[in-house]
Amino acid sequence: MTEPSNPAVDAHDVSYAVDAAQLLDRIDLRAERGQFVGLIGPNGAGKSTLLKAISRILRYQAGAVWLEGADLASLSAKEVATTLALVPQIAPYTQGFTAFELVVMGRYPHLGRFQVEGTADSRIAREAMELTETDEFSTRTLETLSGGERQRVFLARAVAQQPRILLLDEPTSNLDILHQLKILTLVKELVDEHLTAVAAIHDLNLAARFCDRLVLLNRGRVVTEGAPAEVLTPATIESTFGVTAAVHPDPATGTLMISLIAPADEARRAPRAVGRTADSPATARVGGERDEPAGAVG
């Protein structure tokens, strides 16, 4: 076991490129144990890619990642899978598996080669489904579920995996407002108990409300990081997202509230637009800048 003082996730100088596209450019990321860290930034900022690098789905080409003080490169695939779990952004092929069958797969990294999941594993899977309110469709195949329901099933599987670090890639992207709140509240509760969570989140209001710390990424680099109030200022939102915004305390919840006013005009973004003069005004909207390169999501 490692020293408890080691951060859960500690990434140094992590770089990753596909062909000429530098998707991660010397990124540093630190998540202390029991923290909920939010990754924010426009499309193509490198949020998904960073999560994949930390979970070793892709191999970064430079830098190092330490999980609880252990070098990620020195861990076996199974050790990684029992330390952290990733909830994917888009649930890929589901092949006729039922929701319960999928959730129970979260137990695979804990089983030996000749083992089949036992009653304890089934119980853990069922509890995970209750927590995520997916138990009602446990016998349905994933094809018959909506995008949001499917996303919750994949979260249930990650919970059943019993990781110490939970990585979430846009966990609320397909969810209705009720389940956005419920799922993020659940993640927050898990974090309060024992977990560390790192989540890529598009909705700045949700990020401000639920995360302990935010890391703002843009074009594969860390722009700034810190408490939500330090990161989410009208100036940083305008310079990274190209959107004029107002930030004020939410009268109802007491957390930050970000009001998006309008796309900042082209002239004021000029320093950022060097070499990208072909951009039409339409591509400057929030989230409309650039799609995640195929290599990062595939």
Partner: protein, 344 residues
């Protein structure tokens, strides 16, 4: 129902089916032998003291029908598990063992053995050539897909199609320029796939390879479950994707290569068997692969029994029969289950 329960029920039913079909098959043929005699003779060949039914019956069963049925069962098993594995790896219900080139490669090997006269020279030349052809073709297809250290299943599929077409053309070219009509007949006969005159020699060369390949696939079924969900998914659940995929493909190729070597190309078993079982038992490969082994065995023994008794004293080719029966059945299934078969 849990994995173990589903497996136990499915496997019991199919094991009884395999044994039943096997016993019936042993009793049928030019010499009809009562199944009670058959059972005793099989038991006696294991070294147990039993009543004597005369030399003829014993010889027919021990030297002719039993090895043929064991070869048939092995071939069915190899095709069934390889089909299930390919459908999982390609995340596609239309995949079959031939997709990685084993059938076409085996055919080329066999054709070379026959055309050069090697097959006539000694008994095992043909299966040996076919096996080498089958595995070489599969490695070629895999090599193309893995070129540059960047493996892609889509490239594997396309490389399989291209290599299959190319090897098919080579076979056609050899057949066209073959001066000897007898050899031509032999080739056509082999290509149709059959189990005639299979001996204990064939059992000895094919069955151990098939059992080994099947055992590996059974052990890796759980990893295949995760691979079916996508490479990233599998990786994040602790599967070493590259190694696992290579081992799965090699094991499937070993088994099918051995099967093709002793039976030629038997169509549809590898496609239909796992497909039908998946509709009944669900997609979990830990259930599907063992049941495909038993189901494939039952399918081939049954088809072979029909093939060799339906137009006595002549024999029908089992490879033709499986396609005759398998294809319409499969189409019926597709129509009936249109909504359940996964969307592509």
């Amino acid at each position: 129902m849990g994995v173990v329960a589903r497996l136990a029920i499915g496997a019991s039913i199919l094991a009884v089916l395999v044994l039943g079909v096997g016993l019936v098959s042993l009793s049928m043929g030019p010499v009809n032998i009562p199944t009670s005699h058959v059972a005793w003779i099989v038991v006696s060949s294991l070294g147990v003291d039993t009543p004597d039914f005369g030399r003829t019956e014993q010889l027919v069963i021990e030297q002719i029908r039993l090895p043929r049925i064991i070869v048939g069962a092995s071939v069915g098993m190899a095709l069934g598990v390889a089909g299930a594995t390919m459908q999982g790896l390609f995340r596609n219900p239309m995949a079959d063992p031939g997709i990685i080139g084993v059938s076409a490669g085996g055919a080329l090997g066999a054709v070379i053995a026959i055309a050069t006269g090697m097959a006539g020279a000694f008994l095992l030349a043909l299966p040996l050539f076919a096996f080498v052809g089958a595995t070489a073709a599969a490695f070629l297809v895999y090599g193309i897909a893995a070129v540059g250290g960047h493996f892609s299943m889509a490239t594997l599929l396309l490389a399989g199609v291209a290599v299959n077409a190319f090897l098919g053309a080579v076979v056609s070219a050899i057949v066209l320029f073959l001066p000897d009509n007898e050899a031509l007949r032999e080739i056509l006969f082999w290509l149709a796939g059959g189990l005639d005159a299979r001996s204990w020699e064939h059992v000895r060369i094919a069955t151990p390879l098939i059992v080994a390949g099947t055992a590996v696939l059974l052990l890796m079924a759980r990893d295949l479950n995760l691979l079916m969900l996508g490479d990233d998914e599998a990786r994040s659940m602790g599967v070493r994707v590259g190694v696992t995929r290579a081992v799965l493909l090699s094991a499937a190729c070993l088994g099918t290569g051995a099967a093709v070597a002793v039976s030629g190309t038997i169509a549809f078993v590898g496609l239909v068997t796992p497909h039908v079982l998946r509709l009944i038992m669900g997609p979990d490969n830990r259930v599907l692969i063992p049941l495909s082994a038993l189901g494939g065995a039952a399918f081939v023994i049954l088809a072979d029994t029909v093939a060799r008794t339906i137009i006595q004293p002549a024999e029908f080719r089992v490879g033709v029969l499986t396609a005759f029966v398998g294809a319409p059945f499969f189409i019926l299934l597709l129509i009936r289950n249109k909504r359940q078969v996964y969307s592509l």
